[in-house]
């Protein structure tokens, strides 16, 4: 079935979606972790925020970044473990996960 056929049924399939909000300084490091843990992609948004800690150390480049990652549950969990280990103790960072429906699960390493 041609996926670009407008009448093909829509197969929404659940995958895991993780949002990471962290101080901007950590951007390169976190994206490196994501690459190493094998995610198929990510999206980064500039944001600003307040939390427990919220040290805006490098305010010259903007406050926080919000990173969104869609992947298989195990990959998301591996990312969460890594970030918890490295940054929860001393850095300004939060994570939250949810299930979302996508059309091409294979794109995100799920099926």
């Amino acid at each position: 079935m041609n996926p670009t056929d407008p009448n093909a049924p829509l197969n929404w399939r659940p995958v895991r979606h993780l949002t990471i909000i962290a101080e901007r300084l950590l951007k390169d490091r976190i994206l490196n972790h994501l690459d190493k843990l094998g995610v198929s992609g990510y999206t980064v948004i500039e944001s600003e925020g307040r939390g427990d800690r919220s040290f805006v150390v490098d305010e010259w480049q903007g406050d926080n970044i919000e990173i969104q990652v869609i992947a298989r549950r195990e990959v998301i969990d591996a990312v969460a473990r890594k970030l918890r280990e490295r940054y929860f103790a001393h850095h300004s960072i939060i994570l939250y996960a949810q299930d979302v429906d996508v059309l091409r699960p294979e794109k995100y390493g799920a099926q």
Binding site: V57, D58, W60, Q61
Partner: protein, 375 residues
Amino acid sequence: MNPDPQTGKLAASRRLPQAGDLAPHASALAPAPSPQPRFCFPPFRYRHATRPFAKPMFSADLLAANLLSPMVLAFALGMVAMSLRSDLEIPASMHSAMSIFLLLAIGLKGGKAIALSDPSTLVIPILVTIAAGIVVTLLAYAALRRLVGLSTVDAAAVAAHYGSVSAVTFIAARDVAERVLGPTEGLLVALVVALEIPAIVVGLWLGQRKGGGRLWVSLREVLTGRTMMLLGGGLLIGVLAGPERAARVEPLFVGLFDGVLMLFLLDLGMAAARRLRDVRRVGVRLVAFAMLMPVVAGTLGVFVAHGIGFSAASSAVFGAMLASASYIAAPAAVRLGLPEANPSLYLTAALGMTFPFNLAIGIPIYLAAARWLAS
């Protein structure tokens, strides 16, 4: 604004359009139609340093003059706006753009100065600067451990800031010094670059001693960081392009420098006011440190600079450099290299207290010290 006696002999009618025309203050000030000394970089000559100066100003006048510059007033406006909870906001990307501009402009100017000077004259000042940066870092560390009572990691983190340098404080000091004590050496910018890094390295080493071998990772991050790329890259471009080719980009990087600095200080005033809100949390002893450390380091700097033969004006600026605390390069490096340290401490001290202190009171003190020493 440094009316330069050397160039002033051109008759006004013969005057070609000149950079001074873009820096109108200079010509406006000059009693005679002498054009623009401000951007001219005389060959380096720190050996025939102290020179008579026409109308010495008193420190009170100096203080007032300093406080009434548009830059300092913009800083105050930023602080006021923040404390009135105004909805005034400088977009983050505008702030980034301004800091890219300022760092590159400072670098270019330094590069031009170096291109015009004899390289051999640079060696001693650079070595002395590096040594001074390390000494100030260690001094600050000792004071923070013993007198302020911070933990090892926190003391190391704060010390890294005080050993390093604030480019904006440097600019502000040079500006006043040139108006009051005469021209400064162009190589000072190169010394800013040299002063930036060693303290951060020493600070990270002090704080990481017990931890592990993260030092090299941190070092790499500092050396390839934004600040070094722009300041060092600008320096290199200035040296390689040479003064003539660099002149083409000067309407932007020299002509607009003061104006952009004013906007930047508006933003910095808002940031400093935000920092000041944490002042209760940092303790009275750190507040005292943030006021006294600059005076100690600044005076030290003036003496050292005088010792290696700098002019009074350059000595005052060198003092201000040592007295200043970094709030752009150091915080980022320390946050990544010493995440256990409490950022409230170093941010509040460096940006919330020491920066305004130097801007308002410190710089006049270093100027006075330099003038006294030179007389």
